[in-house]
């Protein structure tokens, strides 16, 4: 009987073919180049191979400490980061705002300084306020910051896992004329873009990879500059997307349909007349998907409101890649933790 066994780490170098990056933080995808995104996706492929092994453990980040600092409830993102860190042998410490010193009024900045002083290598932060990770990145000089979702602003790891999933499902398809590429695909993002950090980061990500992005949803839930209404100057982001409020038209020829979570409180805040009308106009249904390209995939960042933004049978049907998104999320986060932690100066 074996009392001990060594952890086999075959092909570590093969799994991580990417040069260490000079990047210190992952705050959004707006400062990623196409090349860097491609590198991360490549790297995540190696990580996904590790996740498929019997013994899901490599010593890449042994002796490194990752803190997940979450000021908002989360299941998948938090567990995904924790698993990613642990598979890479980092010590992962989870901290949530409830039950911590933040309940005694400690500021975000002081909490960050305290964690930094403990010698932590990477802080993964989620916060309800847009820009919170930027405050930490600006003020803390010894840690890497990964944005796990800030307010309405960005969720870069979600966007990267979405890109990975699309590349995995469609990019390598034999009939894709662009080869291993997301370029030229039509991506339709449906729902509450105004309040969606997932949408914002995906717009950067898919645009940089050359996809065509169409947003569809109620005008009340679109940023005003994207709607091109009024006299507001259009953002760079707005120039990268088209808006088609009629979902049936938007979905024509789509390769990817991404439904966003509809916060039910939006109805009470007056953005919507009723959930009933929303469902009628913007629910992703099998009927509507018949207008998309054959082989269309349906995505959702979760958690889903089945029966509202997405019908039950689409969520669990053949076009859905929602569970694969979750699996790929772990691989993407492994790739990012590895790239940031094993960088110059570390």
């Amino acid at each position: 009987m074996a009392l001990s066994r060594t952890i086999d780490t075959p092909g570590l170098d093969d799994a991580f073919p990417v040069e260490p990056s000079t990047r210190r933080h992952v705050l959004d995808l707006d400062d990623f180049s196409k090349e860097e995104i491609t590198e991360v996706l490549e790297s995540a492929r190696g990580m996904k191979e590790v996740l498929g092994r019997d013994i899901k453990k490599v010593p890449a980040l042994r002796g490194k400490v990752v803190v997940t600092l979450f000021y908002e409830a989360s299941t998948r993102t938090r567990i995904s980061f924790e698993e990613a860190g642990k598979v890479l042998s980092a010590d992962v410490i989870n901290m949530s705002a409830s039950g911590s010193s933040t309940e005694k009024g400690e500021s975000l900045l002081n909490t960050g300084l305290t964690i930094q002083a403990m010698g932590v290598d990477t802080i993964v932060v989620r916060h309800p306020h847009s820009g919170a990770p930027y405050l930490l990145a600006r003020q803390l000089n010894k840690v890497n910051i990964i944005n796990a979702g800030d307010g309405l602003h960005a969720h870069p790891t979600q966007a990267l896992l979405d890109l990975y999933t699309v590349q995995d499902k469609l990019g390598w398809a034999a009939d894709n004329p662009n080869g291993n590429s997301i370029e030229g695909l039509k991506v339709v993002i449906v729902g509450d873009v105004l309040h969606s950090r997932v949408a914002r980061s995906n717009i950067w990500g898919f645009a940089k990879m050359g996809a065509r992005i169409v947003l569809s949803g109620p005008g009340t839930l679109m940023p005003s500059d994207m709607l091109r209404s009024g006299r507001v100057a259009r953002s760079q982001m707005a120039s990268m997307v088209g808006v088609e409020t009629d979902l049936d038209r938007a979905i024509e020829g789509a390769d990817v349909v991404m439904a966003l979570r509809l916060q039910q409180e939006r109805q009470h805040a007056g953005f919507l007349p009723s959930l009933r009308e929303y469902i009628r106009r913007w629910q992703v249904t099998e009927d509507r998907l018949t207008k998309a390209n054959p082989g269309v995939i349906v995505m959702h960042p979760g958690p889903m409101n089945e029966g509202i933004e997405i019908s039950n049978n689409v969520a669990h049907g053949g076009a859905s890649v929602i569970e694969e998104q979750v699996t790929n999320g772990v691989a993407i986060r492994m790739a990012l933790l590895y790239r940031l932690t094993i960088g110059p100066g570390n």
Binding site: H129, Q139, H153, P223, S235, M237
Partner: protein, 457 residues
Amino acid sequence: METQSIFIRHARIIDPSRQLDRVGDLLLGGGEILAAGRLGVDRIPDGAIVINGLGLVASPGFIDLHCHLREPGFEYKETIAAGSRAGAKGGFTTLCCMPNTDPPIDNAAVVDYIRQRARQDSLIRILSIGCVTKGRKGLELAEMEELANAGVVAFSDDGDPVYDANLMRLALTYSSDLGLPISNHCQDRSLSCNGVMAEGSVATHLGLDGIPAAAEEAMIARDIALAESTGGRLHVAHLSTAGSVPLVREAKERGLPVTAEVCPHHLTITDQWVLGGKGEPRASAGSLAYDTATKVYPPLRAQRDVDALIQGLADGVIDCIATDHAPHDITSKQVTYQDAAFGISVLETALGSLLQLVHGKKLSMGALVDRLTNGPAKVLGESYADLASMQPGTAADVVLFDPEEDWTVDTSEFESKGRNTPLEGTKLKGRVVATFSGGNMVYQGPGLRFEESRARV
């Protein structure tokens, strides 16, 4: 105490109240302006301090209709003492302080307290603005006549609008025989909601809740209609949108008693600054984004708004420049953008910022000085006309500035307790050399050049 006579030689003297703009000499003595013009060395009194004014502009001291001195109640953000030093350093000799203090300036006792503190602590003239409503709560009118008798120069609930339209109507009606304007912070909160910056491209990029221009314009339009129907005097505080300018223009063309002010930051910087690149175009946010020093109400807006405000100021549609100096402690700003306090510390950078408009040929030097002196004095009314005049016999409130001096904003050198400015580290051109209040030199900058005092034989 007898103040020493001061003789400024060869300065460009600009006194917009008398359409005066010429190189000459200026003699201050006994707290008053004694003479201005081509005086010559023979007029230098015995023992006078003689200043070389060559290349400098001498004008009436600046008047700020809108600043926050935070006292009483928020002395950790600013005091009358520090605010007055900051004002003097910025060339201001009159500051009108807003009543969002604790307690607010809604009764004569607080006005008296500020007057007393100013007498002890201030280098320059401090005037109070009284509340429109009791406790600034927007529910019932403050005792406006008592406040007027105590010496307030205007009414405002600044920081908050007078939100209820009928209450604003009543306030304009009630104050119409007091002769003082109501300075309203125009913000329709049902439109601004939780907004923290201007609606538009940068807000979309950063995922920050935007404040539509209509939030300001809707309330200005409302207030103009109310001023017209009541005969009350309306002063529109801190205009920030292109659409606000024609509203004020049209009201003035109809002869309504409406005036307006604009802040230095709304004339010089845009919402691009929230991206952290000091206004340089940026493709990505970068870790300097969400600079909370840029968080101000009304918010920084787009270049087209800035351009329209400059045009409105040049045309005279906007009567004056007011700083909305809003100093804050560091912890109020070292938080997320959403949690950060609104406001910029402006007094010490105002002139340097504004001179960009003159150097960029968007505004004449005479117009700039007018909007900092004569413009605000006119809003205050006839009895304050002397504050903006260099007529012999008026108080010697004078600023001397070098429009060409290059300097870099360094908040560690601020006199104000508020170091909250997005201009930290920015290069500006033009700075105050000396400020005189009642004939006393209350600020002396590094650029001041003295000449030998010549005794007449």
